[in-house]
Symmetry: C3
Subunit: 383 residues, 3 copies
Amino acid sequence: MAVTQIKAVPAFRKTAETFTSGAKTLEQKYFVSQEIFGEEQEKIFSTQWILVGHQSAIAQAGEYFISEVAGESLIVVRDKRGEIQGFYNVCRHRGTRLLENRNGQLSAIQCPYHAWTYDLNGRLIGAPHMDEVPGFDKADYSLHAVNLALWEGFIFMNLASASTERGGYKSLEEWFTPLAGKFSHWNLPQLRSAKRIEYDVHANWKLIFENYSECYHCPGVHPALSKLTPYDSAENDLCEGPFLGGFMKINKSKSLTMSGNACASPVGDMDAEDFHRVFYYSIFPNMLLSLHPDYVMVHLLRPQSPDRTLIFCDWFFHPNAFDHGDFRPNDAVEFWDMVNKQDWHVCELSQQGISSRAYEPGPYSARESIPAAWDRYYLRFMN
Amino acid sequence: MAVTQIKAVPAFRKTAETFTSGAKTLEQKYFVSQEIFGEEQEKIFSTQWILVGHQSAIAQAGEYFISEVAGESLIVVRDKRGEIQGFYNVCRHRGTRLLENRNGQLSAIQCPYHAWTYDLNGRLIGAPHMDEVPGFDKADYSLHAVNLALWEGFIFMNLASASTERGGYKSLEEWFTPLAGKFSHWNLPQLRSAKRIEYDVHANWKLIFENYSECYHCPGVHPALSKLTPYDSAENDLCEGPFLGGFMKINKSKSLTMSGNACASPVGDMDAEDFHRVFYYSIFPNMLLSLHPDYVMVHLLRPQSPDRTLIFCDWFFHPNAFDHGDFRPNDAVEFWDMVNKQDWHVCELSQQGISSRAYEPGPYSARESIPAAWDRYYLRFMN
Amino acid sequence: MAVTQIKAVPAFRKTAETFTSGAKTLEQKYFVSQEIFGEEQEKIFSTQWILVGHQSAIAQAGEYFISEVAGESLIVVRDKRGEIQGFYNVCRHRGTRLLENRNGQLSAIQCPYHAWTYDLNGRLIGAPHMDEVPGFDKADYSLHAVNLALWEGFIFMNLASASTERGGYKSLEEWFTPLAGKFSHWNLPQLRSAKRIEYDVHANWKLIFENYSECYHCPGVHPALSKLTPYDSAENDLCEGPFLGGFMKINKSKSLTMSGNACASPVGDMDAEDFHRVFYYSIFPNMLLSLHPDYVMVHLLRPQSPDRTLIFCDWFFHPNAFDHGDFRPNDAVEFWDMVNKQDWHVCELSQQGISSRAYEPGPYSARESIPAAWDRYYLRFMN
């Protein structure tokens, strides 16, 4: 299946009707079938670039964290030359899980079972007694590497090998070509996370995307949010393809925080008008990127089963903001933790209702053009 | 499959041997197979009239409770004209679960996600911004209704539509024709529940029926019960078909309570002899109806899996009884809570043993003619 | 499939290379597949002699314990003549589980449901009201017996009947012919357990055997053990077939205990050199037998699923040791509880890593000849 890239759409407002006339929600099977879930893991999460974290989490040589893609435990580690490497977390001897902690720092990777030892580039450098085995060559037993690349400071991994039957995959740079330069004002590579919250949501991962992609639900679900950002102010500039979204207005002199005030110095040197805008973009298939003047929020999704999704939410700030007296990251964290939970709750209710024999695809409104576009892009992988 | 009705059997005592000679318990697969369980949900619980509650629970307009039939969440609500309606608990927009609480009172049904609103007859009366969608007509998006009818004040639902391939189904009135007038002395439509207890039993739902349908186990399992009602006093008047049972004697001046005394004024104006009798009837496929002089106990079964059944037990009393000084409902509730738990325990032991490769159908005794008849009726749905 | 017995191998040291050149670990499917697990339960645990306990646990007539083989609950009881009998724990009437407690003492086995009663030889001796059923004969409803035999005081059961399609099975005596007399110095039939610990390990049962069968992992995993017994001192005398293992040296005047000193009087009258040796043997498919000068440790494995195994570990002592002032069983129990947990932990890590798509069979070292031999024997059942 060829996944063609769309060109960046000019940033004037499309009439939603262009896209959604007659669009309906996905069929039930996409939300409840274990088979479909397995197919997604194979066709999407094992072939596409998957967000696993931000480079700032492993700033020093030897720092690592464990990520998970398509059920695989993966080591993401900065090597001694400063490059970030990715490996399956599996010893080549008897298959033992190598690293148990979620993150840490080390100078080599040693298996806890029989002490086989690998350097930070995955090369086997120690294997007690294996010299007694005729023909054994350490060079044959490097850790299995995983493709890894960076975009705007975010680390992505791709489980596919360059020569799969699907005709390989695009490089990360090529994949993100439509977004080249789009976010340069926000200094994304330099930002640092002040807080991470992990959510265990009993809903299909696609419901999270569909929820993120419209504010039709905001008046009823998010009263506090709706006071700071008019629910009908959305202007989308990416309306089709793997990257979707646009901005909403922020009321004058306000910020999306509990207090309503900015909680940190600006993340970048944005244009004046961007100080009154929050940009929401979904990056297929597991990243939600929310750009505020004073912080950047990122949701990383990790589907667990048809009806369960882990969501890791980070709040990023400019590195200099951490030292300022006006740095109150919790003002943003608490606000979005509240809004997140409101969203997860309605997603869970949707999961429940969609499982009914009475469910049938329902009509998207004009305010739900982006969910409809997301569904269309998703379906290209599944047919 | 044609489900023929039997005629009410004259109320003289049948010799049990007529029915059970050679009868054996059901094969293992009926108690442990996930496939059989799915078949039951489809062939029985999705086509038959299923008890969901009593009308007294929703006496006022707008009062509702949520029931569950064959895994479906269903809204049972009294509309503004006083009629009881049944709907799938699923929004027609994006499939969201509409009502979360088990019961309550409301004037309209509003979806918590995008605020689509339905009246108590299921008609869509509000759908923000949907007027922007060409061709959208609210009349096309009423809640999906479920067939619902009342018998003796009890609410039954039937998931089948009138024109299924099985040739539709009988009306509730027609289904209960064999019992017409049989329980009129007990004032069932007027009764009110004083207490509900929910049991989570790790046994197949059919074991609960088989257990309820004989008192051969009473001497060993229910010593207290056996003191008040002789275990060998059963006289069955319904011995074949969907409705099975009869009465047992209650010792003179006794009641089935902890104290052994009546705990409330009589539920109806029964014949004199009925003051010394307790009537036990099973109503296929999920109701157990126990009629005492001073109260009526109803078990509602909700199969969850081959080896798990939820059981809701209610104790009903005459509405006037609640105001009398001699009203001690706990005297009956505690008694049967004890007896119930004794029964669930042996049912759970049966579930465990039946799962063994050593299990083979065993011989029913002469005292187990009703379980044998229940099995026969059940099997008519499964072949 | 003919399971041929190997002859006991003379107790000189084999060079491990003879056996392991080129040997690799098992394929992933043997550790993760539910189908393979089912096949193992059928082809191995339902056809082979399975350890269930030691005769000392039921020394008196009427004493019983419940065991579990291939998911079956089994009654092991000493009858009134002093013989040990084995039965399925299932009533012949309606399939009820007969005994719930893990062990106890009784004079007859009475079903808790309808009071059918069996003597300790499984004969139905009471069945209320069944005389009313024409043609019913108690002799037709004995408990289903299970083959049971003793070896060195240990009780083994075999679910296969003598005439299965696999050509029946060997008697326990014939099965253990290769070990005849080998352990007579240790007085195994006379020993008594001072302590049992149950472990719930999230690893495939075969990983437990592979772990037990080599000390290549000892330096890194068991620092305390390695101080008392040199990890490279293993000398195996059983190197192929269902019984595998040999001895390791114990440092002079030491014992494998927390204190490093003997914790009880000797279990038997061993040769002088055996006082400085610990013998480790695996008995296919669920017994690990560890013979120390002062105690005997036995691990009994009970596979639960592809990734979960229950392990019951007993520490046996000479019956006279219990009365001596120097009896400190906890000195051994605590030591091995520590070592056991170290082992289970790396087994669990292996289970995790082997589940990865990156896992491929890895090369066994020269120190892993016994795991390789165990794998070979195991595979004879699975092809």
